[in-house]
C-alpha cells in the first residue's frame, strides 16, 4: 500500500491538479495561478513517487528496529486533510484571502492532530494506553473546536436564511424549525427503541437541509427591504417639515430619559410658544447658549395637534460649491403631553451668521431667539 508520507504527497498532487482545472474553468485558462498549481501537482507526485519507491516517510517501515514490536498505527485521515489545507492555501494565495486563512487553519489543525496522533502511537506499546494519552492531549482541544464550530455553523446558516426571507415568514420558519426540533426530541424520548440509524439519518438530513439552504440564502443575499434600507440609510437624515415624514417620524419616541442637563424647556400651550431656563423662574423670550457647548433643550407639547421644534442655526458655506446652506435641526413629531429633546452645539456666535431661532412649523410668527455670545 501507499505509505503515509506518499499518501500526503499524492494527495497534494491530486488536489493541486483538481484546483488547477477548477481555476482554469472559473478564472482564466492561462494564469500564473494555474501554472503554480500544476507545478506543485507535478512536483508533489514526483516526490510521492520517490517516497513510495524507497519506502521512506513510512512510520511502520520494517527497517525501523525500534518500533518493530509496536502496534501498527491506525489508519489516519490527517495526511489527506493536511493536503487539502495546503491546496486551499495555494488557491487562496491567488484568489481570496478567506480561502487562504481557511487553508492555514486546516493545516494547523491537521498538523497538530497528526503530530499528536503519531506521537501518541509511539508513547508505548500499549494501544489502550496510547489512546488514553491521545485523548488527554487532544480532547481539550478537539471538543471546544467541534462544539464551537457547530454552534457557529448553525447560527450563521440559520441567520442567513432568516435574512433572505421576509420578516413574517422568518418568524414562521423559526417556529417551524423549533417545533420540529422539539417534536423529534419528544418522539425519540418516548420511543427509545427507534433505530439509531433512523435518528442519525434525521440528524444528518436536518444538518444538510440547514447547510444547503443557508448556503443558498447566503449566496442570494439579503431580502430586498434590507438592501434598500442599507442603501438609503433612512434614519440618518432629519426631515424638519411641518408634515410627518415617513421614516424619521415613524413610531416617534416620546419619552425622554434626560432628566438632568436641560438648559431650557420650550412649551407649546394653546398655540403659544414659551421658554423657561433652568434656575430661573420667569419665562424668557431669548435663550443664551454658550458657543460650542452641548446644550439640551426640551420640547414639550401641551396641545392636541402634533408639532415639532425646529432650530434654525444660520447658514454655512459648502466648501466645494460655495453655496450657502441653512443649518437646521429638529425633533420628531411630538404628540399631546409628550416631550422630546434637542441637543444643539452651535459653533459660531449669533453675530456672525444669525439670528438663530427656535420655531415650531404650524405656529407661524412665533419664535424664541437663541443668543450665542
Amino acid at each position: 500500500m501507499f505509505t503515509t508520507g506518499s499518501k500526503y504527497c499524492f494527495g497534494i498532487a491530486g488536489l493541486g491538479s483538481l484546483g488547477a482545472v477548477v481555476y482554469m474553468v472559473l478564472v482564466h485558462p492561462c494564469d500564473v495561478g494555474v501554472l503554480a498549481l500544476l507545478g506543485i501537482a507535478i512536483a508533489m507526485s514526483l516526490v510521492g513517487g520517490v517516497a513510495q519507491f524507497t519506502g521512506d516517510f513510512d512510520v511502520d517501515s520494517p527497517n525501523d528496529a525500534l518500533t518493530a514490536n509496536a502496534v501498527a498505527p491506525a489508519n489516519s485521515m490527517w495526511p489527506l486533510v493536511l493536503a487539502l489545507g495546503v491546496v486551499l492555501l495555494l488557491v487562496g494565495m491567488t484568489t481570496d484571502p478567506i480561502i487562504f486563512i481557511l487553508g492555514i487553519v486546516i493545516i494547523i489543525a491537521a498538523g497538530v492532530e497528526w503530530a499528536l496522533q503519531s506521537w501518541a502511537e509511539r508513547a508505548s506499546s500499549d494501544s489502550a494506553f496510547n489512546r488514553f494519552v491521545r485523548e488527554r492531549a487532544l480532547t481539550s482541544l478537539e471538543l471546544p473546536i467541534f462544539v464551537g464550530g457547530g454552534v457557529a455553523i448553525i447560527a450563521v446558516a440559520f441567520s442567513r436564511i432568516m435574512l433572505a426571507v421576509s420578516p413574517h415568514s422568518g418568524a414562521i420558519l423559526f417556529i417551524v424549525i423549533a417545533t420540529a426540533v422539539l417534536i423529534v426530541g419528544f418522539l425519540v424520548s418516548v420511543k427509545t427503541n427507534i433505530k439509531k440509524s433512523m435518528i442519525a439519518a434525521t440528524c444528518v438530513l436536518g444538518a444538510v437541509v440547514l447547510l444547503v439552504s443557508g448556503g443558498i440564502a447566503g449566496f442570494n443575499g439579503n431580502r430586498e427591504e434590507l438592501v434598500v434600507a442599507a442603501a438609503e440609510d433612512h434614519y440618518s437624515h432629519k426631515e424638519c417639515e411641518a408634515a410627518a415624514s415617513e421614516h424619521f417620524d415613524k413610531n416617534s419616541n416620546n419619552a425622554v430619559s434626560m432628566k438632568s442637563g436641560i438648559s431650557a424647556t420650550i412649551r407649546v400651550k394653546d398655540g403659544k410658544l414659551t421658554a423657561q431656563l433652568i434656575g430661573i423662574d420667569a419665562q424668557v423670550q431669548a435663550v443664551t447658549v454658550q458657543r460650542s457647548n452641548l446644550t439640551t433643550i426640551l420640547f414639550r407639547n401641551l396641545d392636541d395637534a402634533q408639532y415639532r421644534l425646529v432650530a434654525n442655526l444660520g447658514t454655512k458655506k459648502i466648501a466645494d460649491t460655495g453655496v450657502e446652506e441653512a443649518i437646521v435641526d429638529c425633533t420628531q413629531m411630538t404628540g399631546k403631553n409628550q416631550t422630546q429633546a434637542l441637543i444643539l452645539k452651535i459653533s459660531k456666535p449669533s453675530a456672525s451668521s444669525g439670528p438663530y431661532t427656535l420655531t415650531v412649523p404650524g405656529l407661524e410668527g412665533q419664535e424664541i431667539a437663541v443668543v450665542v455670545p
Partner: protein
C-alpha cells in the same frame, strides 16, 4: 522533544505495560512533583498560593511606595521639577491602583488563603484549582497594568478614571487601555477567589464550628468576599463600557451623543465604596485575633463585632454617592447619602469600643504585633472622625478633592489597613515560616512607621483645610498663604515624613532578610494563641492537620490549654500548645485526600492575559487568547481533581482515585 522520543522497550515482558510517564506522556503528564519551581507554579496548595500572593503583594507595595515617594518629592517645594505633569498624573494614578489592586487586595487574599483553612480546621479551600486560577489571573492583571510603563506610558486618569477624561481623546496613550484590562483581569481573579472562599467558609468548617464559633478573622473575610461578589460585576460593567468606548468606538461616554458622564461615576463608586471595606475589613479581622491573644482575653462582644462587620458591609453598598456630593445630584439624594454615611460610623464605632474594651481587664503583652494593632485603633479612629466631618455634605463640598480627603483615607487605609496587615505579619510569621521576626527591629519598625505616618498624613489635614486641591502636579507660592498654616512648611513636613515612613518599611524588609538568614526557629505556640491554626506544626504540613480538630468553643485552642478553676474562677493551664500538637500527630488520620497540582490554572491565566493584550494590539492576538482560554478551560474541566496513578513516576499502584499519605510524621 517528547514528540519524537521513542522509548526503547528493554524487554518483551514490558510490552503491554505503559512505560514511565515522564517519557511517554511528555507535557500532558500532570505536574505532580512537590519540590522545585514547578511545585510552586502549578501548585493548588492554599498555603503556597497564599505565600505567592504575599510575595506578589509585597513587591507591589514597594513599587507603589516608590511611586508615593516620587510624588512627595515633587510636592516638597513649590513648582516642583522632578516629574513632568504627564508623569505626575501617571504616578498618582498608578500609586493608587497599585496599592489598592496589587497590594492591599492581594495581601488580604494572602492572609485569607493561608489562614482561612487553618482557622476553620480544613485541609484546603473548596476549589483548590480555582484558587490557583485566581492568583494567576491577578498576576496577569498586575503585569498588564504595569507593562504600560514600558509601552508608551501608564494610565493618567486617576484610579477613579472619570469619564470623559479617560476617553480616547483626553487620554491618548494606551495607558488607560492597559489599566482597564489589568483591573478587569485582576477583578476576575478576585471574583473567582471570593466565590471559592465563601464556599470554603460555609461548607468546610471543622466539625463543631458553628458560624458563631468561627474566628472573627474568618467572619471579616466572609463579609469581604460577599462585598466582592456583589461589587466586582459592577466595575466589570463599567470597565467593559470604557474598553468598548476606547477600543471599539462605542458611545457610552460620548457627551456629544447625549451620554451622561455621571454613569461612570455611579458604576465606579457602587464598586468603589464597598471596595474601601474590602480593603479595611481583613485588617479588622487580623487585629480582632491579635488583640485577644495579647490581652489574654476573648474579644469583647464577639456577636457585636461580627454583626457590626456585616452591617458595615451591607450599609457600605448604600453610601457610594458620598463620593459625588459635588457633582450636582440634587439635595434629596445628597441628604439621603449624607445620613447613610453617618449611619455607617455607628458600627465602626462599635468595633473601636469593642477592641478597646477587649484590652480592659486584660494582661497586655506589648509584642510588635500588638503594638501595630493598637496603632490601628488609634490611627483608624482619627481617620474615622475626619470621615464624620465630611459625611456632613455641605462641609464636604469644602473638603472634597482637597488634601483633607487624602489625609482622611490615608489614616484609614495606611493607619488602618497597613497597620493591621503588619500586625498580621508579626503575629503569623512564625506560623508561616517557622521563624520569629526580630522583636527589637520590629519595635523600631513600628515607631518609625507611626512617626512617619503621622508626619506624612497629619499635615495633609492642614493643607486640605487651607485649600490645597489633590492631584496637582505643582502647587504655587501665589496660593500658599502666609503664617503658620502656609503650604510650604507643611508640604515639606509631609515629604520628610514620607522618608521616615519609607525607612520604617525598609526596616521591616531588613527584619525579614535577617530572620530568614539568622532567625531562631519559632516555638510551636509562641504567643500563647487562641485559634486552630496553632494546633499544627509551623510551618504547617501539606495537609494542614494530622487530624481534623473537633471544635467545642470559640477560641478552641485556648480552651484546650486552659480551664477555669471552678472554685477560684481563675484560668489554669492544663496543657501546653506543644503537647497539643504532639497529641494531634500521634493520632493522625491515615487516609488524606489532597488535590493534585495542575497546569491549567496558569494556562488559562496566560490565555486571559493574551486576550487582554489583543484588545490593545489587535484581533489576531485576541483570537489566540480565546483559543488558549477555550482549550485550557476544557483541560481544566476534564481533568480529575486528583492525578491518575500513571501520572506518578514510577506509576502509583492501587488504582484508587486518591493518593494516600500513609506514613505521616
Amino acid at each position: 522533544m517528547a514528540i519524537i522520543e521513542r522509548p526503547a522497550p528493554t524487554a518483551p515482558i514490558l510490552l503491554r505495560a505503559p512505560v514511565t510517564p515522564s517519557q511517554s506522556m511528555g507535557i500532558v503528564r500532570r505536574p505532580v512533583t512537590s519540590t522545585g519551581w514547578k511545585s510552586w507554579v502549578f501548585t493548588v496548595d492554599h498555603k503556597k498560593i497564599g505565600i505567592m500572593y504575599g510575595v506578589f503583594a509585597m513587591f507591589f507595595f514597594i513599587v507603589g511606595g516608590v511611586e508615593a515617594l516620587l510624588i512627595r518629592l515633587q510636592l516638597a517645594a513649590p513648582d516642583g521639577k522632578i516629574l513632568s505633569a504627564d508623569l505626575y498624573n501617571q504616578m498618582f494614578t498608578m500609586h493608587a491602583t497599585t496599592m489598592i489592586f496589587l497590594f492591599a487586595m492581594p495581601m488580604a487574599a494572602a492572609f485569607a488563603n493561608y489562614f482561612l483553612p487553618l482557622q476553620l480546621g480544613a485541609r484546603d479551600v473548596a476549589f483548590p484549582r480555582l484558587n490557583a486560577l485566581g492568583l494567576w489571573l491577578l498576576v496577569a492583571g498586575g503585569l498588564i497594568l504595569n507593562s504600560s510603563w514600558f509601552l508608551g506610558g501608564a494610565a493618567d486618569g486617576g484610579w477613579f478614571m472619570y469619564s470623559p477624561n479617560s476617553g480616547p481623546v483626553f487620554s491618548p496613550s494606551n495607558g488607560v487601555d492597559f489599566w482597564t484590562l489589568g483591573v478587569q483581569i485582576a477583578g476576575f481573579g478576585s471574583l473567582i477567589g471570593s466565590i471559592n472562599l465563601i464556599v470554603t467558609i460555609l461548607n468546610m468548617r471543622a466539625p463543631g464550628m458553628t458560624l458563631m464559633k468561627m474566628p472573627v478573622f474568618c467572619w471579616m473575610i466572609l463579609v469581604v468576599q460577599f462585598l466582592l461578589v456583589f461589587s466586582l460585576p459592577v466595575i466589570t460593567v463599567a470597565l467593559v463600557l470604557l474598553t468598548f468606548q476606547r477600543s471599539f468606538g462605542a458611545t457610552f461616554f460620548d457627551v456629544a451623543q447625549g451620554a451622561d458622564p455621571l454613569l461612570w461615576q455611579h458604576l465606579f463608586w457602587i464598586f468603589g465604596h464597598p471596595e474601601v471595606y474590602v480593603l479595611i475589613l481583613p485588617a479588622f479581622g487580623i487585629i480582632s485575633e491579635v488583640l485577644p491573644t495579647f490581652s489574654r482575653k476573648p474579644l469583647f462582644g464577639y456577636p457585636f463585632v461580627v454583626f457590626s462587620g456585616a452591617s458595615i458591609g451591607l450599609v457600605g453598598f448604600g453610601v457610594w454617592s458620598h463620593h459625588m456630593f459635588a457633582t450636582g445630584l440634587g439635595p434629596i439624594s445628597v441628604a439621603a447619602f449624607s445620613i447613610a454615611t453617618m449611619a455607617i460610623a455607628i458600627p465602626t464605632g462599635v468595633k473601636i469600643f469593642n477592641w478597646t474594651l477587649t484590652m480592659w481587664g486584660g494582661k497586655i503583652w506589648y509584642s510588635t504585633a500588638m503594638k501595630f494593632a493598637i496603632g490601628l485603633i488609634v490611627l483608624f479612629t482619627i481617620g474615622g472622625l475626619s470621615g464624620v466631618t465630611h459625611a456632613v455634605a455641605p462641609s464636604d463640598t469644602q473638603q472634597t478633592d482637597t488634601y483633607y480627603i487624602v489625609a482622611h483615607f490615608h489614616y484609614v487605609l495606611f493607619g488602618g489597613m497597613v497597620f493591621g496587615l503588619f500586625s498580621g505579619f508579626y503575629y503569623w510569621w512564625p506560623k508561616v515560616f517557622g521563624k520569629m521576626l526580630n522583636e527589637k527591629l520590629g519595635g523600631w519598625n513600628f515607631w518609625l512607621m507611626v512617626i512617619g505616618m503621622n508626619m506624612t498624613f497629619g499635615p495633609m489635614h492642614i493643607l486640605g483645610l487651607q485649600g490645597q486641591p489633590r492631584r496637582m502636579y505643582v502647587w504655587t507660592e501665589a496660593r500658599a498663604g502666609e503664617g503658620f498654616f502656609n503650604f510650604g512648611f507643611w508640604n515639606r513636613v509631609a515629604s520628610l515624613g514620607s522618608l521616615i515612613l519609607a525607612i520604617g518599611i525598609l526596616l521591616f524588609l531588613i527584619n525579614v532578610v535577617h530572620t530568614t538568614r539568622k532567625g531562631k526557629p519559632a516555638p510551636l505556640d509562641p504567643w500563647d494563641a487562641r485559634t486552630l491554626e496553632w494546633i499544627t506544626t509551623s510551618p504547617p504540613k501539606e495537609h494542614n492537620f494530622d487530624r481534623i480538630p473537633v471544635v467545642h468553643h470559640l477560641d478552641d485552642f485556648f480552651h484546650r490549654k486552659y480551664q477555669e478553676d471552678a472554685t477560684t474562677g481563675t484560668m489554669v493551664q492544663i496543657a501546653t500548645g506543644e503537647q497539643l500538637v504532639r497529641d494531634e500527630e500521634a493520632n493522625a488520620d491515615a487516609h488524606i485526600h489532597l488535590p493534585s497540582p495542575s497546569y491549567w490554572p496558569i494556562a488559562i491565566a496566560i490565555g486571559v492575559g493574551t486576550l487582554g493584550m489583543g484588545v490593545v494590539y489587535g484581533v489576531p492576538i485576541m483570537i489566540v487568547g480565546v483559543l488558549i482560554i477555550l482549550g485550557s478551560s476544557f483541560g481544566f474541566v476534564l481533568e480529575p481533581s486528583v492525578a491518575d496513578d500513571i501520572d506518578y513516576d514510577p506509576p502509583m499502584s492501587g488504582g484508587q482515585d486518591t493518593k494516600e499519605l500513609a506514613p505521616l510524621g
